[in-house]
Subunit: 120 residues, 2 copies
Amino acid sequence: MFKPILKNLVEQTPGAQSAILMGCDGISVDHFTADVTVEEDGQSIAVEFAAVVTEVSHAASLLKVGGLDEIAVRCGNLSILLSMLTKEYFVALLVDRDGNAAKGRYLLRRDAHLLRAALD
Amino acid sequence: MFKPILKNLVEQTPGAQSAILMGCDGISVDHFTADVTVEEDGQSIAVEFAAVVTEVSHAASLLKVGGLDEIAVRCGNLSILLSMLTKEYFVALLVDRDGNAAKGRYLLRRDAHLLRAALD
């Protein structure tokens, strides 16, 4: 039920490696990876970033700047887009540095309601 | 030496509240705030996010995805843009939710070399 939505996110974003639906506890619910040889890397990255999501959510709540919606991280050879679906679940999209992270961000905003509906 | 560059970032970004040059230890080097009544909030936000920068930098290094360049966080009523200048210093730009964070990101990329040169 989640995989077709995750697959669509990866396939429509130039340079996307994988999309992972995760809990803030770091447990992956479902994922789609373009290249299975990098699948394990994507999982490790998402687990690390679950801790970041929890910390930023907590900081946002302390600082009264409203609920956390998105985090985008740009590193030397990867962009990591994290979009909150509910207070407990988020979707991570991993995009190559020379891929189109802006399109990925747009698609995450466009399709978040589909993942939320599937989570219900 | 930093203030004119920080002031320019705030004044050229629609909806920007403040720009803060910080160390990853959470100590502010310099800042410029558009509205002094929210100055203290900006400082608290930057201090909280110094911890996030350190954690994401550490994760990026563990995961071998290249050095951390930027983090963008979108919350209910604020966007927080963090751009690494060196391994130890970053600049934070706080933009209202209805401001132009994309322009802020562009200006941070454009002017990062000026802040780096001033840090040397």
